[in-house]
Amino acid sequence: MRSKRTVFENRRIQLVFWVVLALCYLLGIFFVGLGVKESAYGICFEDKFLAPSLRHPFGTDGLGRDMFFRCMKGLSTSMVIGILAAVVSSFLALVMGILSAVLGGFVDKFINWAVDLCMGLPHIVLLLLISFMMGKGMKGVTIAVALTHWPALTRLVRSEVLQIRSSLYVQTAYRMGKSPYQVAVTHMIPHVLPTYVIGLILLFPHAIMHEAAITFLGFGLPAEMPAIGVILSEAMNHIAAGKWWLALFPGLLLLTVVVLFDVIGDNLKKLWNPQSGNQ
């Protein structure tokens, strides 16, 4: 049966294909954005409010800056913040989740209390407070976004570790003479790793959205820096005047990036999960 199927009908290969495509697109934006020189989106009053054309695919804004390159630059800045936030937050989550599950008792209670505390506050308020306290700007945003994305993943890691620690097959492995180290390497890490990596990838879109959100509200990146939040909040001033391209393209770009990260995360989840891995 299986051999008669063509390559593209295999769901596994399809999933990998989508993941690779999404990765290419994201990495493309990331590196193009990093490579863009400031002159590419310099101020040029002759080109004020130009509608999208071949020369300016996303049009220009009120200062004649090319929106395409501003968006690219802004998105790659967002991605850098996203990567930092995801790495820091997921590391915090991993350490706290494992400590909580392994030590139990007081540590477990304390970490759960901290998780509840952070999840109880509206996320955006917490972000604003931390960013404001840290003096706004790139530093403030990065710290705020990095320090507030750990609670959900902490819970997830904790429950995964708890579950596998008490599972029959881990206990059986101990009875078969396996050392705690062997059990950790062969049973526990492979069990927690997919959850962790997928959690890390799915943190990205959150971090990027939150970065854009606090910048949009004026508590994040400074106005002269090209950032999606800045671009969108400027666009709000012109949208009533019919300058639709100022909001549409940056908005679409942000949306695609966020959705693509989600696609990668979800597809990896399907590939990794033994419930669906062989389908």
Partner: protein
């Protein structure tokens, strides 16, 4: 060889009632003791204590007069009621089967296990097939005693018969001691050399 339980008591929490109280129990190599009794009287708990899954709160478990070692391969192995919980769902069957030792191909054939199944994940096998893998996995050469906790309860009658026929053959050949936990007195009579009721153990 002789596996002895001396005056063990066990409960799952400090405020919970005793499940086992002052239980004495002995089994010799080659003996097959059926452990019968009502649900909730601690049959499985006693099995877990024998195989080292739980530590008794009082009393000791001795193998030929010496306490069981926590480290290394435990000569008392347990086969569980739900094989799907006793295998890592992320491992393929080959890794699961070879976790403790490398069984001979002959053994797999005797048990009706096909080599192609080794490349499958546990969820792609039926309960009976999984249970046979779990039994093969527990039969390392170092195994001297087997605790079988309702191992065929969820299987159809033909599979039950196949599994027991095979297990009795191996037990006879290798002089294994077996503790067979079951609700089924008929099964107890058929496969065991002695039958003990759990509520008659201890006080």
């Amino acid at each position: 060889m002789q596996l002895t339980v001396e005056g063990i008591s066990f409960r799952y929490g400090k405020r919970l009632p005793w499940i086992l109280k002052d239980v004495d129990f002995t089994i010799k190599s080659g003996q097959r003791i059926g452990l019968l009794g009502t649900s909730g009287y601690g049959k499985s708990t006693l099995g877990k204590i024998l195989a080292g899954y739980e530590k008794p709160i009082e009393g000791k478990v001795l193998l030929d007069g010496r306490a069981l070692d926590d480290k290394g391969y435990c000569p008392v192995q347990m086969i569980h009621q739900h094989p799907e919980l006793a295998v890592n769902p992320r491992w393929k069957m080959r890794q699961i089967l070879y976790e403790a030792y490398t069984p001979e191909e002959k053994l797999l054939q005797q048990m009706g296990l096909e080599l192609s199944w080794l490349n499958r994940w546990p969820r792609e096998l039926s309960g009976g097939e999984l249970q046979r893998f779990c039994i093969a996995r527990a039969l390392a050469p170092e195994t001297k005693f087997l605790v079988c906790d309702e191992i065929t309860t969820m299987l159809d009658v033909i599979t039950q018969a196949q599994i027991w026929q095979f297990l009795l053959e191996v037990a006879e050949k290798r002089q294994l001691g077996m503790v067979i936990i079951t609700h089924n007195p008929e099964l107890g009579k058929r496969v065991c050399t002695d039958v003990v009721r759990i509520d008659e153990l201890g006080t």
